[in-house]
């Protein structure tokens, strides 16, 4: 089979932040120290090698890129200080820009000023849009969904969800095609009798590894320094993710209650009301996670955080802003006398949250999609030997 070689890939990857990777002598220390590497899935050295010899398709179609949780052990022990962990992060960023349509990811991975500018512009755009749609301000109590009509908020949210859903499907498809080609997976497997653990792999990828973070929790704490469990990598990440999912759940439930006519969105509810309670608790967890992540990144706390791409920052800052504004609104809700800033914060909150969702396939947020796909392929195995396929016509 012919292989297309892209001699520029190393230069391109360096622009994504894989500094120092040309120092790599392929000694294999990184792979041997990596807690995730196994007989079949060996990285980071192999990934670096692919980049060095220009095997772009192989690199982009590697599920291994997404099996790395960036513990930083490889960079810590690299004899050449070639920063393999940083290379893996850069390569993931590179993959994100290649999977997502129109290479929009370029803006957020490579151009901090332009990426930041566009993000701010989008927030401003939606802010102004919602401001233009504002209604009268109630002064007796905070009536947010009268201020911005309930239906408008719901429709904007739904439209954004559908849009990113479609884009995500496209990116997942792109990635699957690439991964399948590299890993010799084919839809023919469906028909020639190879039985794969399709369902079990899905459970493994989504529940065991993504929601429960099994491998992350068990293997990926950096061995160099011991930290308290509440600062451990996996817990901080899990807090952020579970918090985010909790907030998403609370929002979805609210919407459901509205559709079912149980409770119109925007009705005043006490703090212990189930959806409000879920939202508040998730929000606290979420804010804790995001803040620790921000501080770690700001301080370049360890090898894994020694270099940050614009997309890392934009993602985290958007997360923080949406969480923070949400809490300010909640405080405003329970304060007497409907403070006016509660309304402005509501506009800001919606604008930021919309931008966060819309940018999902293009920023660091995209890992939520790609990791699951990679973990799925990782978990996919033939369950039995293929039964002899009937002789085909050709």
């Amino acid at each position: 089979m012919t292989q297309r070689v892209d001699p520029n890939i190393l230069t391109e990857l360096k622009a994504f932040g894989a500094m120092g990777i040309e120092k790599c002598t392929n000694c294999g220390n990184c792979t041997a120290i990596c807690p995730m590497a196994s007989e079949d899935e060996h990285f980071p050295r192999y990934m670096i090698r692919l980049a060095q010899i220009g095997m772009k398709d192989e690199l982009l179609g590697s599920k291994e890129l997404w099996l790395c949780y960036n513990c930083g052990d490889c960079s810590e022990t690299c004899p050449q200080q070639a920063e393999p962990a940083n290379f893996m992060a850069a390569a993931r960023c590179y993959a994100v820009t290649h999977f997502a349509p129109l290479k929009i990811g370029y803006l957020f991975c490579r151009t901090p000023l332009l990426g930041g500018f566009i993000t701010v512009l989008m927030v401003l755009f939606f802010g102004i849009f919602f401001y233009g749609e504002r209604q009268t301000v109630a002064t007796d109590s905070l009536k947010l969904f009268h201020f911005i009509p309930r239906d408008l908020v719901h429709n904007a949210g739904l439209a954004a969800m559908i849009l990113i859903g479609l884009v995500s499907l496209m990116t997942i498809f792109t990635m699957l095609v690439r991964i399948a080609r590299v890993n010799n997976l084919s839809f023919r497997n469906f028909f020639n009798g190879t039985r794969m653990n399709w369902v079990q792999a899905f459970w493994e990828a989504v529940v065991v590894q993504s929601l429960a973070q099994k491998r992350y929790r068990e293997k990926c704490e950096p061995s160099q320094n011991s930290v308290k469990w509440y600062f451990s990598k996996w817990f901080v990440h899990a807090a952020t993710m579970w918090g985010f999912l909790g907030l998403l759940l609370a929002t979805a439930l609210n919407f459901l209650l509205d559709i079912l006519g149980v409770k119109a969105t925007g009705t005043f509810v006490p703090l212990w009301y189930p959806t409000r309670l879920i939202g508040t608790l998730s929000g606290l967890l979420f804010m804790y996670g995001v803040m620790v992540l921000l501080v770690k990144r700001w301080r370049s706390a360890d090898k894994a955080h020694s270099f940050s791409r614009p997309s890392d920052w934009i993602f985290l800052i958007l997360l923080w802003l949406s969480g923070m504004t949400g809490f300010i609104i909640e405080i405003a809700l329970y304060l007497p006398g409907a403070p006016l800033w509660g309304y402005w914060m509501f506009i800001f909150h919606m604008a930021v949250s919309l931008v966060l969702l819309l940018l999902l396939p293009f920023t660091k947020f995209a890992h939520a999609i790609y990791r699951i796909v990679a973990l799925y392929v990782h978990a996919l195995k033939p369950v039995a030997k293929p039964v002899t396929a009937p002789a085909s016509a050709d």
Partner: protein, 440 residues
């Protein structure tokens, strides 16, 4: 001791220092050789064989040690520390402290009766702690000078040695003695140390029972060694599977040692060959990043080892741990197959690199290079000249090198020193120094 004048003072009695001293003394220069150990011989006297000829190390070193001791133009100063150096009109005034041996060097005949009587045994550093010697002893059988030395830190003052000594040489009341040497030139040959076995946490930090340094292996292989055979130190078992971890102390920026130590590939190959002779059934594996066999006859040596069945695996060992039988388990990527494996061996030798000896650079006020070895400003034009006129450097004090190169470097330093002394004789002005820019 009386103060005295010499033409040159050689610091360090290893192979480079001895060679430089002999070359200068043979030309008629009055030479003093100072070493902080009670014997000369340096690291080389503890080695088994030299590469690539597999000649016996003792057979090369011992005659040189004797020549140094008996040369009419060489004043041997063992067990001495440098105290200070001052520049003077005709060179340098060096203050030297003779550490107390608690044995009168003039009376001691080296009969070793004291040693046989001494009840105290302590780990023998010349055997890398694998064997033991007594609190009072001649350091080893071929030590030069054959003068006993007493280790006061471990002595229990039982007095047995004093009673048994036929010449009443043992004197417990000896004090350090300071004297001055006036010298025209100094040749620094302070040598190297191994990177510490403990340095790399991933390799067990020196705590694994059967992970040893290469100088230990030299002692196992040397005919003068503690056991006369290859054993693993953890339980005395004869190893059947031995692994070498190359670049364990060099070319590793996580250790702060960026340079290649230049000798590790060759000594590992040499030891592998010697082990093949000592333990014909043993399987020997060398894990490497690159094999650097650059010297004359070295590549052939490497190919011979391959032909002898030594297994060479390309991959940097990332971590070593121990299984419940104290067998070291190495984790490595076989980069040529693209597989990560854990392999269990009986004995692992870390091919540690060279770091500069914490020697006399501070006292001599010589600048160090990025690698912490003595800086040589014009290595191509004047390979042994330091930044201070009249002070020359040779051997592994200036950077990692093997025995062959050390000897070449020593003769080179001797030639440079000789030229310098002659140029400054009879109050002549120094000749115009060569234009460094042209050669550097």
């Amino acid at each position: 001791m009386e103060n005295f004048n010499v033409d040159t003072l050689v610091i360090g009695g290893g192979i480079a220092g001895m060679q430089a001293a002999l070359d200068l003394a043979d030309q008629g220069f009055q030479t003093a050789l100072v070493d902080h150990e009670p014997t000369i011989g340096g690291k080389m006297i503890t080695l088994s064989k030299v590469f690539p000829t597999l000649d016996c190390c003792s057979c090369i070193t011992t005659p040189k040690m004797s020549s140094v001791a008996h040369h009419p133009n060489i004043q041997l100063l063992t067990y001495c520390d440098l105290q200070s150096i001052q520049e003077s009109d005709s060179g340098f005034r060096v203050a030297i402290v003779q550490k107390p041996r608690y044995v009168d060097a003039h009376k001691c005949t080296g009969c070793r009766k004291c040693e046989y009587e001494c009840p105290i045994l302590i780990p023998n550093p010349y055997d890398r702690g694998l064997g033991a010697y007594h609190a009072i002893r001649v350091p080893f059988s071929t030590a030069v000078p054959q003068t006993a030395v007493l280790d006061m830190d471990n002595c229990i003052l039982c007095g047995k040695c004093e009673k048994v000594c036929p010449t009443q040489a043992v004197t417990f009341t000896q004090k350090p003695e300071t004297f001055e040497v006036q010298t025209r030139t100094i040749v620094l040959a302070s040598g190297f140390e191994l990177t510490p076995l403990e340095a790399k946490k991933e390799y067990g930090g020196g705590l694994l029972h059967n992970v040893i340094d290469p100088l230990m292996m030299e002692r196992f292989l040397a005919p003068t060694g503690p056991y006369g055979r290859v054993l693993r130190p953890g339980d005395g078992k004869e190893p059947t599977s031995i692994a070498y971890v190359q670049c364990a102390g060099s070319r590793d920026q996580s250790l702060g040692v960026e340079y290649c130590s230049r000798v590790c590939c060759m000594y590992a190959i040499k030891q592998a060959m010697l082990i093949s002779g000592a333990l014909p059934m043993a399987e020997i594996t060398i894990y490497y990043m690159d094999i650097r066999t650059f010297g004359k006859g070295y590549e052939q040596f490497y190919q011979n080892a391959q032909a002898m069945g030594v297994e060479f695996i390309r991959g940097k060992v990332a971590a070593i741990h121990e299984d419940d039988q104290q067998n070291p388990v190495v984790k490595v990527e076989l980069t040529e197959d693209g597989r990560v494996v854990e392999r269990t061996h009986d004995l692992v030798v870390l091919s540690l690199g060279m770091v500069p000896s914490p020697g006399s650079a501070g006292i001599l006020e010589l600048p160090l290079g990025d690698d912490k070895f003595i800086s040589v400003p014009a290595p191509n034009a004047r390979p042994c000249h330091t930044t201070r006129p009249g002070i020359f450097v040779t051997g592994t004090a200036m950077g990692p090198m093997d025995i062959v190169d050390s000897i070449i470097s020593a003769s080179s330093a001797a030639a440079a020193t000789s030229a310098y002394i002659r140029a400054h004789q009879n109050g002549q002005a120094s000749p115009k120094p060569q234009e460094e820019a042209v050669y550097a």
